[in-house]
Symmetry: none
Subunit: 205 residues, 4 copies
Amino acid sequence: MVLAAARSAFLELGLEGASLREIAKRAGYTPGAIYSYFSSKEEVYGALLGESLERLNAHVGAAEPALVSGHGAAARSRAAQATLRAKATAFFDFYRESPRDLDLGFYLFHGMQPRGLTPVLNEQLNARLRDALAPTQQALVELGVDAGAAQSEVTALFAHIVGLLLLSHTGRIRMFRQESQALFDRYLDELLARCAPRRVRRTAH
Amino acid sequence: MVLAAARSAFLELGLEGASLREIAKRAGYTPGAIYSYFSSKEEVYGALLGESLERLNAHVGAAEPALVSGHGAAARSRAAQATLRAKATAFFDFYRESPRDLDLGFYLFHGMQPRGLTPVLNEQLNARLRDALAPTQQALVELGVDAGAAQSEVTALFAHIVGLLLLSHTGRIRMFRQESQALFDRYLDELLARCAPRRVRRTAH
Amino acid sequence: MVLAAARSAFLELGLEGASLREIAKRAGYTPGAIYSYFSSKEEVYGALLGESLERLNAHVGAAEPALVSGHGAAARSRAAQATLRAKATAFFDFYRESPRDLDLGFYLFHGMQPRGLTPVLNEQLNARLRDALAPTQQALVELGVDAGAAQSEVTALFAHIVGLLLLSHTGRIRMFRQESQALFDRYLDELLARCAPRRVRRTAH
Amino acid sequence: MVLAAARSAFLELGLEGASLREIAKRAGYTPGAIYSYFSSKEEVYGALLGESLERLNAHVGAAEPALVSGHGAAARSRAAQATLRAKATAFFDFYRESPRDLDLGFYLFHGMQPRGLTPVLNEQLNARLRDALAPTQQALVELGVDAGAAQSEVTALFAHIVGLLLLSHTGRIRMFRQESQALFDRYLDELLARCAPRRVRRTAH
DNA sequence: AATGAATGAGCCTTCATTCAT
DNA sequence: CATGAATGAAGGCTCATTCAT
């Protein structure tokens, strides 16, 4: 109940408005009662972020690649490409459809007190974030990209997603008369062109 | 004086710590006096962002492309590429070296009350932001990219920069064992490969 | 007004009850208004103690020794004795009649945060306390007691007063079926017997 | 276990810091469990004070007077003096070495709610305090002081001890450049000089 | 233009205590 | 006997803002 209240407060009011009082009120509690469950406000936020990352992972995990026919190396390459598209898009979509989750992540990673974000918790949360990008990274490896480059590509992809969504959520993207979805699709196309060009052409012949 | 005080408070204390009281103290005023110059705290921030964008434009304007020798179409292309590199890098560097300016922009564009960010001011600020990206966009056009594609590329570049810097400032980039500068350089290389590939090779022969 | 409110709150409710909220309410203010005058609750208490020590000094200063007739060394000794009685009794009476002032002193000297009791303020308050005992100490010196012994005697006198009053205010003195005033008078008699015995006898002959 | 926990919490954290929560935590309980043993926090403190007074009595009881040789009235006087010194000093030392016990006594006697300090408990605690002073009082009687005067002297002695220790614990005694032990010794000397002067001299001849 | 006092709402947190289980 | 959740009140303090002067 506390987490649900925190989530709803956060969704409707943003980080500034989601005070402990407000969260308690929404949970039907007095402020002090929250401290039976969490030892500080930052810990509530930490739990909220943890939960958000679980939902992200569930979303990415549920994304199904398009079916690919055939056998052999070429088919495997096409399967990896389909997987990459599906998983990366799921990641992008999760945050595009739920801007607050992005806020949450960055607020917490950015401004949280040590009290709320212990190194252990920090590492746990980081790990779950990496988990959500792992299928994409794995698909790159299957496409023949070496481990280091795959890591770089995934980081760049993550940064691109974050940047696009931030521009989108703050309305800045409109000033360029662009749309985040289209830009994301293009980025993905280029990523695939970069990482799987030869096989694609071979299979295309 | 007020703006200088606000800038210094904001630089040292960040958004949370830069209260009106603090700004007033640094300006040698009492809190009430600020309201002779600005009608709200958000307006102070608005002015600060305006000023930040001026500095951004000055920084980008001052960036000199590498010298290019020769004449004709090939040289013009190389000049445009050098310009693109110089201007985009200047943009990136400005925010990389001054994370607070990035914070400021996003705080204002994100959370500000209507009171602080009037449509007129919003459009002014947007215009200055576009100005800072205009040289890059122009270079793309000179490379033969059509107007619409140049706009898309610049928007994507901006998003990429924002994403990289956000990851960098929140320390998230470390969890991928990457570094924003290297990722930016690579993005730029790919952008150029995408937009000026044939001419480059031709001139190379 | 704030100080008056703080004093009255403190008088009626003691240290625990004299919260900032309560003080503000009594002053006809909202809690925040107190911070226009004092930068912390402890500072309010510090000011209260300062004021209390001023009243103590005024009380001691106003105490008139009994008139002494005659001339010469013997008369001067009797005058010094009368002064010692008058000043020491004034000190004792001040705190006997105003137990809260004693509480205040000990609370502040004991439990106050560094924020409220700066070394400078601490020294100022100590100085005023010493001032209130100075006439007694001076009378001892006039009785021929050397400086070091006079200091010891005054310290012991102060401790005795504090002890008697504490026993008295906590009701413990009743358990011995004693009364603080009588015990104080006896202590004073013995102090005088100790410090001015010979001259007294000589003048008595 | 609860009492031990309360004692340790109180020793380390003082009155302010020794909350019921803290006590419960140290006892390995949850806060509510304390109420199976005590009906309020004040009652815990009451029990703590009772225990403290037991330790005081044990300490005083264990104090051995210096051995005195000889027979007759003079020897008995010297024995009584030795006893007085030993017992009074034990009392003083107990609180000098354990300031928290003094705090405890005054907190309870001073600020406690009726709930915590019932008349019955109050009388029990008083009785144990008197017990700790009884050997000193008895020694005075053996020195020939009449009952009433002995009672007064013991009360004054107690007050003096309390005053000295309070000055000492609050650091005020330093401002007079004095030291509580020396002042206590002097007080004891004077007490003995006052109460056993002639016999002492006679036996000295 | 500037002050300084004041507001009112709000912040997170702690506390002793209660009570159904 | 003990838990654990919950209360209700209070704690000190900060904030942007207002406004008479």
